[in-house]
Amino acid sequence: MTHSPDLRQSLPLDGQIGPATRISRARAKKMIDRAVTRAAVGERVTSPLSIRRWRGTPCVVAIAFALPLTLVARCTAREGVSSARSTAVSPKAKGHPQPPNARG
């Protein structure tokens, strides 16, 4: 056997000379029956590689966008609250007289 050019001829897929073509009729029928039954109920055996590779991508993208946005939103909200508090707590700074019951 020489390699590259003849490799294809040495590894045939068609015909009755492949390494795994020999199977009894009963066994072949059993396999086909089972396959038809399983396919009829829409069973998906396993997700193909290329599909599975992309399955996690939407989650990662979603997290990549959502996480910074959440952090920014939280920081902004926190800043807003603290600035509102500081405005409410120190009205003196703006020259307003403090009402007598402000501490209550």
Binding site: L11, Q16, P19, T21, R22, S24, M31, A35, T46
Partner: protein, 193 residues
């Protein structure tokens, strides 16, 4: 007429028996599976190390072919479409099950049936070649089979396996080199079982 010919060439055509199977004709489906079974089994055996795993994966591959049948648009040969599905599923299953263990390869008696006829000799020769493949690391074996059996290009294999093109080239080179070594390497490669 001049307009009709290019259109007829350009439009993908699906063989009537495949079309019938796609349309859900159960007899057609069974006939189609019977037809592709030897091919599927051969391809699976080229990709896995153990005969025992061949039938399990072949079974799953047949189911996947039937389930995905609606996705065949007739843009290429039906067999080539089936080959891609089978190869993808087999490699995925091997990764999942971690068949990488170096246990001895038990040879299934059903697969080893041999007759004294010429076909029997031919069969034994193919089995010998499979044993040479069994000596390869799985990554190299897969690249070799995808390239030389399914005629996939190096970039196609890289995309399919999710590895860089250079890795595919390197695996291919190593696989060929190993095959060459194992073939002319010595008594280890003779039929000893």
């Amino acid at each position: 007429m001049l307009l009709v010919v290019p259109l007829a060439v350009a439009l993908p055509s699906i063989l009537p028996r495949v079309r019938a199977a796609i349309d859900g004709d159960e007899t057609a489906r069974r006939e189609l599976l019977t037809e592709i079974l030897p091919r599927v089994r051969n391809l699976v055996r080229y990709l896995v190390r153990r005969d025992d795993d061949t039938d399990d994966i072949t079974q799953d591959a047949l189911v996947t072919v039937l389930v995905d049948l609606g996705g065949y648009r007739g843009e290429g040969k039906f067999e080539a479409w089936v080959d891609r599905i089978v190869a993808r599923l087999t490699i995925s299953r091997i990764k999942k099950r971690r068949f990488q263990s170096q246990r001895d390869t038990p040879y299934n008696s059903d697969l080893m049936l041999a007759s004294p006829s010429h076909a029997g000799e031919e069969f034994l020769y193919r089995r010998q070649i499979v044993r040479l493949l069994d000596a390869l690391p799985l990554e190299q074996r897969h690249v070799l089979v995808l390239h030389h059996v399914l005629d996939m290009t190096v970039p196609e294999i890289a995309a399919e396996l999710g590895v860089p093109v250079e890795t595919v080239r390197s695996r291919l080179r190593l696989a060929k080199s190993r095959l060459r070594t194992s073939e002319w390497g010595g008594p280890d490669n003779q039929e000893s079982e």
